[in-house]
């Protein structure tokens, strides 16, 4: 079941029942595989039922592709078990790291964009794609600082990585907006530098604002609706890249299903309008 270039939403346990009883007209669902790394019970029961009706995307947050010490075999195996069990249409991970030695740090931490990091990511992605026997997509992260010894801009690093590893790109438009504000770069220029054919999925989410010394930092907390400026940037991305499966992420302060569904319908309308205008 390939994923259509329509809106999907992040699947939350709070919404299992209403999705199964109301059969919403939604393109697809996405989950974090880490939330299903268990043997059985309700989570698998509901995900299995929803998977029977909708395409699925597995969006990992724990593989730590940027770890200099390499990947953990047990993490890869746990991911492979879910890929085999649910046969997802898309599998994605992040341009970040989250594991050091025996510690899982539960956040998408930034890397310096250096030749060394490019090699580390490239090796780890190779290993993942070989083990899973499929292509994965790599998502641009949001970040709160940059390192002064980075030798690539993030967009150049991401594109170079996709080209060397054969991975695709998951373009998170909210993350571009957040990082552009936090680091003072041009969000539209970022998108312009991404070759459309590398992009397999788009993400949209809400963010919040935090005051720090000297200015404001945008925080990618997935805790609210997509703001109008991010919707505009999304339009811009669609013009450059074309229509792609687009996910609404809403992971904190999770709203009623109808609110999330409405948000997905906005993305669906933009995709539909474009396909009628340009096709």
């Amino acid at each position: 079941m390939p994923i259509p270039a329509r809106a999907g939403v992040g699947l939350k346990p709070e919404h299992y029942e209403i999705i199964l009883s109301s059969n919403p007209d939604i393109g697809w669902f996405e989950v974090h595989p880490e939330n299903y790394m268990s043997a059985g019970g309700a989570n698998h029961h509901y995900l299995g039922k929803i998977r029977e009706r909708y395409p699925l995307s597995l969006h990992g947050v724990g593989l730590s592709l940027g770890s200099a010490s390499g990947l953990r075999a047990d993490q890869l195996k746990a991911l492979k078990m879910l890929v085999d069990r649910y046969n997802p249409s898309l599998v994605s991970e992040h341009l970040s790291w989250s594991q050091f030695g025996p510690n899982a740090l539960n956040d998408l931490l930034p890397v310096p964009y250096t030749e060394e990091a490019l090699q580390v990511f490239s090796n780890n992605i190779d290993q993942t794609q070989n083990f899973l026997q499929r292509q994965i997509l790599i998502e641009n992260p949001s970040s709160y600082f940059q390192l002064d010894y980075s030798s690539y801009a993030e967009w150049d690093f991401l594109v170079a990585l996709a080209k060397t590893s054969g991975a695709g790109i998951l373009l998170d438009v909210n993350n571009i907006y957040v990082s552009a504000a936090n680091h003072g770069f041009d969000a539209e220029n970022y998108i312009k530098n991404i070759p459309p054919e590398l992009v397999g999925e788009i993400h949209l989410a809400g963010h919040s604002v935090q005051q720090v010394t000297g200015g404001k930092i945008l925080i990618d907390d997935h805790g609210s609706a997509v703001i109008p400026k991010v919707w505009s940037l999304y339009e811009h991305a669609l013009e450059h890249i074309g229509n792609r499966p687009t996910l609404i992420e809403w992971d904190a302060n999770i709203p009623e299903w109808s609110r999330l569904y409405d948000e997905a319908k906005i993305a669906d309308r933009r995709l539909l309008e474009r396909s009628t205008v340009y096709s």
């Binding site: 019970g41 539960n106 310096p112 010894y149 030798s151 690539y152």
Partner: protein, 300 residues
């Protein structure tokens, strides 16, 4: 690859010491990041060099504070997300000790025992012993046992699925062979014993309005925690039934499990147990759907 480097700046001037520093390797960077992420405060030795490579964006004034603030966002995110995971796993412990006390305990715990796996479904077993010896909870003797109950609840929730025992199968067993029957219990099933009425405490604290419990005068608990269909059940068993099921779970057949139950009943000088009660006990346990398989042979 033929990417054009966009930002070339191989060395940098530290805003702290004014000397030029070589950038760290990726492994050194991740090591320093991790150390300073989980520490109570930024560690002066490793954080100074680490922070010296973070680019300030908001101008010269206060730039040292700015880079520290930027890094602190990650420190706060990680501690908050991990301590929230602990709170999600132990909601009743949180209610019993209060939000402030729980948050302090959870933060202390995640700093010293961060998770090993990125999946947090089973993160927090060590919190049971941690909360047992947490000074602020010293007077709540039962707190660690309540935490154990919540932990077993989570484990039962995510355990392997298994269909309940087909009762028809038991009807084919001839009466003289019943004693030789071995049972397989549902993969989610756990037995838990406590000197405290933790089932009553747990149940009371699931309610919106919590009443007062006379903890000292309520009976000790002997509990079966398991999943029936998708729902986790917490069932209080009689002492005899608890002992009987314990023996069955330890791969004893019915006859052996019953002898074990009688032995304990005698040694603990509890009221006499009549042979006729075995049938009722067995029927009760079968009715709970805690068994998934029954066979005469031991090699289940």
């Amino acid at each position: 690859m033929n990417a054009v480097p966009s930002i070339v700046e191989p060395t940098s001037k530290s805003p702290f010491s004014g000397i030029y520093m070589q950038p760290p390797s990726l492994n050194q960077y991740q090591k320093a990041f991790t150390e300073n992420l989980l520490s109570r405060q930024l560690l002066s030795a490793s954080s100074e060099e680490f922070l010296s490579h973070i680019k300030p964006m908001f101008g010269e004034t206060g730039k040292e504070q700015e880079v520290s603030d930027r890094f602190t966002i990650y420190r706060n995110n990680v501690i908050l997300s991990l301590s929230t995971a602990i709170a999600d796993s132990f909601p009743i412990v949180k209610r019993l000790i209060g939000e402030d006390c729980f948050t302090r305990a959870a933060i202390e715990y995640v700093r010293t025992s961060p998770p090993e796996y990125s999946s947090l479904l089973f993160y927090g077993e060590g919190f049971i012993d941690f909360i047992r010896s947490y000074p602020a909870c010293a007077e709540l003797n039962y707190i660690a046992d309540v935490a154990r109950l919540e932990w077993l609840y989570i484990n039962a929730f995510h355990a392997q699925d298994s269909a309940p025992l087909d009762i028809g199968k038991l009807q084919t067993v001839s009466p003289e062979d019943i004693g030789d029957l071995y049972f397989e219990c549902h993969p989610s099933s756990h037995l838990l014993m406590s000197d405290w009425p933790i089932d009553a405490i747990w149940e009371e604290n699931l309610k919106e309005e919590v009443g007062i419990l006379d903890v000292a005068n309520l009976p000790a608990s002997k509990l079966l925690i398991y999943r029936r269909d998708l729902q986790v059940q917490v069932v209080a068993l009689t002492t005899n039934c608890f002992n009987f099921l314990y023996a069955l779970k330890k791969r004893n057949n019915i006859a052996e499990a019953w002898s074990y139950t009688l032995e304990l009943q005698k040694s603990e000088s509890r009221p006499e147990l009549d042979e006729s009660e075995l049938g009722g006990m067995l029927g009760y346990l079968i009715g709970l759907s805690v068994f998934t398989e029954a066979q005469i042979k031991e090699n289940l």
